[in-house]
């Protein structure tokens, strides 16, 4: 019944909707030519509004000298320093860390083997060995310490929150909103105030990382809990399980593999914060990247960036393997092997505490400088070879697409844009789209950076479209062909964790400082996550469904467009949403390469104290843009399909 009414609605509404949208856009363009330049709310680079000044004045009001913050800071600080002492820094009166490189490699490989497989154990040993050969052992261990601390703290917060959001629909709605905020609010906005609460150094860096990295774990834990088959939960309840028993004996064990995906994402996010956190003196590879970039030394920056990527890939593969491990308990043989391995690890650790060669990574093979030279050469070659061509592409896209779109958004009176946005949201999503759109538009005006918001919106829209198109293409490809998936993943991981600062320099050389460069950077950063989600969604389409389509003689394209994409729609909606959030997360980085507007406002607010309030307002504007676009797309996706029975709270 439900599906019938749904599709009827769909058939009737669809053509009308597109006609209305078409008319709306035509009216807008017509009105633009009439009203151009009125009420555009332009605010100059150094100008501020009363609201901005108020924010600036009250920046330091929150939380100074607060005992709670102090306690958190001390706790986190001790934790990070402990890890650093163990892994990275000379400690406890010894010139080397507690565990030297041999011990770390052995321990890491052992853990990878115990929780994953011997394949990832090999990968772990090779990866860590590689960063050692790069001459970045200590920096890598500092980064690893900070990452471990941030990830563990994230999980400490995220898993309970995720469980709560998984069990309660209301908590889920609130959580979604807060998580969007945490992920889109630019780090630069809270980096400086964080140092006020938590002082400069590892603690503040860790906490900044936690804010950015915890959301995926919350989201995926909630998602995992919500997708445990209802029957298993009912079975447990029908046997008289208490809520606690259902949670610990059914929901959590059955959520394991999805929760691990969340942990995985959290690790990736944490590693992508390494360089940003270096701005408040977080130790490790981020420092190397930033210092190298002061002199535009792409080679050295790339070398350090590569170490981050390698660590990311190792952590990713190990957690993935741990998540995919079947439910079996260990066989006797394996237990014996594990025991023997543990002894081996202890021996290795003892070595690494006793002998210099096992404690300090030998620096005879300086792979790092060679990598740096090669990276520099390649960068130069690319710049020289493609330089002229890329400028042409940039100008074509900018003049053909970006400038008209931006002119329409920035040149129209704010009330006209707001009216169009609300109307669009209403057509696409009914009142569920219209109300948030109206609220967000109103708040955007209130932030005082409307004009900059519209410039950023234009770039964001374009970038998101590119991300979705590329992500869909790659994702479908990888989802359909396993081989493609295996070799595309490392590239995607690199795109996600290679610090943007590293590839910004070549991008600047190729495209100059421009909005296009910022869009390109955002695309590189956001395509991986979109691709991964799409690929996973396509892979999850039941084989039988695809076979059914093939059996009636569908072409590949028909299978993709009529079966795989529609069936994977939920994944695709999520992919669009995440793509958008990742694009927005790069707005500030975009501001550093010529996108101006909100990104620049945020960066300037971070650097110039009198612009702090404006920076914060701009950061909020980014969040508002995110919420606005997200709600409209979500609402549009929702009315497309008819919701069957709404699943109630789980327990």
């Amino acid at each position: 019944m439900a599906s019938i009414t749904g599709s009827v609605e769909f058939e009737v509404r669809r053509p009308r909707r597109s006609v209305i949208i078409g008319i709306l856009l035509v009216v807008w363009v017509a009105a633009y030519f009439l009203l151009r330049g009125i009420d555009t709310l332009v605010l100059g680079g150094q100008e501020t509004t009363a609201f901005h000044r108020w924010l600036t004045d009250h920046r330091d009001d929150v939380g100074q000298g607060n005992a709670v913050f102090d306690a958190i800071r001390v706790g986190v600080d001790h934790f990070v320093v402990l890890l650093q002492n163990v892994l990275a820094q000379p400690s406890y009166g010894r010139p080397v860390p507690v565990i030297g490189w041999l011990g770390v490699v052995a321990l890491a490989a052992y853990l990878a083997w115990a929780f994953g497989s011997w394949k990832v154990a090999l990968l772990t040993a090779a990866g860590l060995g590689f960063v050692g050969l790069q001459g970045l052992w200590q920096e890598s261990m500092d980064t690893l310490s900070l990452t471990i601390a941030a990830v563990l703290l994230s999980l400490l917060v995220a898993i309970p929150l995720g469980i709560w959001a998984g069990l309660s629909n209301r908590a889920f709605r609130v959580a979604t909103l807060v998580l969007d905020l945490m992920q889109t609010l630019p780090t630069f906005v809270y980096l400086a105030p964080l140092t006020l609460f938590f002082a400069i150094g590892p603690a503040a860096a860790t906490i900044a990382t936690v804010i950015y990295a915890a959301p995926p774990a919350v989201r995926l834990t909630a998602h995992a809990i919500r997708s445990v088959p209802l029957e298993s939960v009912e079975a447990a309840r029908s046997l008289g399980s208490t809520r606690g028993q259902t949670l610990t004996k059914v929901l959590l064990p059955m959520s394991r593999s999805t929760v691990v995906v969340g942990i995985n994402q959290t690790i990736m996010a944490a590693l992508s914060m390494v360089t940003v956190a270096a701005l408040i003196d977080a130790p490790g590879l981020g420092q190397t990247v930033l210092t190298a970039l002061q002199t535009l030394d792409v080679g050295v920056a790339f070398n350090a960036g590569l170490a981050i990527v390698v660590i990311a890939i190792v952590l990713d593969r190990v957690t993935t393997a741990a998540g995919d491990r079947p439910w079996r308990t260990a066989s006797v043989r394996r237990k014996v092997l594990l025991g023997a391995g543990a002894v081996g690890v202890l021996v290795a650790i003892w070595f690494s505490r006793t002998y210099v060669w096992a404690a300090e990574f030998p620096d005879t093979v300086n792979l790092g400088s060679r990598i740096a030279v090669i990276a520099t050469d390649v960068t130069n070659w690319v710049q020289d070879t493609f330089g002229g061509f890329t400028y042409g592409v940039r100008d074509a896209v900018t003049n053909g697409l970006l400038n008209p779109l931006e002119a329409l958004l920035t040149g129209s009176p704010w009330w006209l844009v707001a009216a169009v946005v609300v109307a669009l949201a209403a057509v696409l999503g009914g009142w569920r789209g219209a109300v948030p759109a109206a609220v967000c538009s109103g708040l955007l005006v209130a932030t005082g950076v409307w004009h900059d918001s519209m410039i950023t919106l234009a770039s964001t829209l374009l970038a998101t479209v590119v991300v979705v198109v590329v992500g869909l293409a790659l994702g479908v490809w990888a989802g359909r062909k396993h081989r493609v998936d295996t070799w595309i993943r490392p590239v995607l991981d690199a795109g996600q964790t290679m610090p943007p600062f590293v590839y910004l320099v070549p991008f600047l050389a190729l495209f100059g400082s421009s909005r296009f460069t910022a869009i390109a950077a955002a695309v590189v950063y956001a395509v991986p996550v979109t691709t991964k989600i799409v690929a996973d969604g396509i892979k999850a389409v039941p084989v039988a469904t695809v076979e059914a389509a093939n059996s009636v003689g569908s072409s590949s394209w028909q299978v993709i467009s009529k079966v795989q994409l529609p069936v994977a729609r939920r994944a695709i909606t999520l992919a669009v949403n995440q793509g958008l959030i990742y694009v927005l997360a790069m707005v500030v980085v975009g501001g550093l390469v010529g996108a101006g507007a909100l990104g620049y406002d945020v960066a300037a607010g971070f650097a110039q104290s009198e612009l702090y309030g404006k920076g914060l307002a701009a950061g909020l504007a980014i969040v508002l843009l995110g919420v606005l676009l997200d709600r409209i797309t979500q609402a549009a996706a929702r009315t497309r399909k008819f919701n069957g029975t709404v699943r109630g709270d789980k327990l």
Partner: protein, 319 residues
């Protein structure tokens, strides 16, 4: 059971290695820093090479001659100033103006004090790449800028000439200047120092026109001698009203700021910071070693100190 055997072999191999051993990890020698009463010296390092040169030399001297434990913290300017209050930062060694921060931390919160000039003069202005100055000699006069505006057009400048602005860290008057000097230009934010330097490199290499905001001293001048445009000369007070500015940027006397606590501590490092003074050439020399020759800051500092021992002696009050 194959794996078991391998594990056994590996363990045996490891034990065998224990026999050949190697150099053993020794206990840390007692820190030399305890000898003199300097203690820990927390030095903020702001993210540009000129600053790093200052920090390299001061840090080197403090640890070598005064026995301080020097802790360098890589921080953005504003965050360094915050550190004065919390005691995490003792000194900032190259401050570009920042009247707002001075007001907040020196006048209002009274947690920081000024300790005089570094001797380095900062210049801010508009620059063109050398090839342009050579090809169009009259471009360095701002009155001729409109003549060349069409050349500076880009996809970002909306039909006008592009004036590429800088790092978000710096206060600029460029929008007001363009307006008040009736220039047919649009200010475009490059967004970072990196972007500016890359833009100049590209412009010089491919003979592209570029007009951009820049500043000296800067290690990049070692690579490319940018040519400054002469704006209407700065007169005291001509920049009081930011909206009406129509004159060049004032020359900056780059100075040092330390935390109040540090100043009152009687640490010999404080005297070093107070006495520290050198020239643009000195700084450029060290910056060059760091940025172009890829020396570590310490190595660069050591080299420079060897050649300039007399200056260092002055800072240490030995003369």
């Amino acid at each position: 059971m194959n794996k078991l055997r391998y594990a056994g072999v590996l363990t045996a191999a490891a034990l065998a290695l224990a026999g050949c051993g190697g150099e053993k990890v020794g206990a840390d020698e007692p820190a030399a820093s305890g000898a003199k009463d300097c203690g820990t010296f927390n030095l903020a390092v702001n993210p540009w090479v000129g600053y790093e040169a200052n920090a390299a030399v001061v840090g080197y001297v403090a640890s070598k001659d005064l026995g301080c434990t020097v802790v360098k913290k890589n921080l953005k300017e504003e965050i360094s100033w915050q550190g004065f209050g919390t005691g995490e930062v003792d000194a900032v060694l190259e401050n570009w103006g920042h009247e707002d921060l001075k007001k907040k931390y020196i006048e209002d919160q009274k947690v920081a004090v000024e300790t005089g000039s570094t001797g380095v003069k900062g210049v801010i202005g508009w620059y063109v790449p050398p090839w342009m100055a050579a090809k169009y000699p009259d471009i360095t006069d701002w009155k001729n800028l409109n003549k060349y505006a069409a050349q500076f057009k880009t996809s970002e400048s909306g039909g006008k000439g592009q004036l590429l602005d800088g790092d978000p860290s710096y206060v600029t008057n460029d929008e007001a200047l363009v307006k008040n000097l009736s220039l047919n230009y649009k200010v475009v934010q490059s967004g970072s120092e990196t972007a500016l330097i890359q833009a100049f490199r590209d412009a010089e290499k491919n003979k592209k026109p570029l007009l951009a905001y820049f500043y000296e001293p800067q290690w990049f001048f070692n690579e490319l001698k940018l040519v400054k445009i002469d704006l209407p000369p700065y007169k005291s007070g001509c920049d009081v009203d930011p909206a009406k500015v129509a004159c060049d940027y004032p020359p900056y006397d780059l100075d040092k700021v330390v935390s109040k606590k540090f100043a009152d501590s009687g640490s010999p490092a404080y005297d070093l910071v107070k006495n520290f003074q050198w020239t643009n050439e000195d700084q450029n020399a060290v910056a060059r070693m760091i940025a172009v020759d890829k020396l570590t800051p310490d190595a660069a500092a050591e080299k420079w100190v060897k050649d300039n021992q007399s200056k260092v002696d002055t800072w240490l009050g030995k003369k």
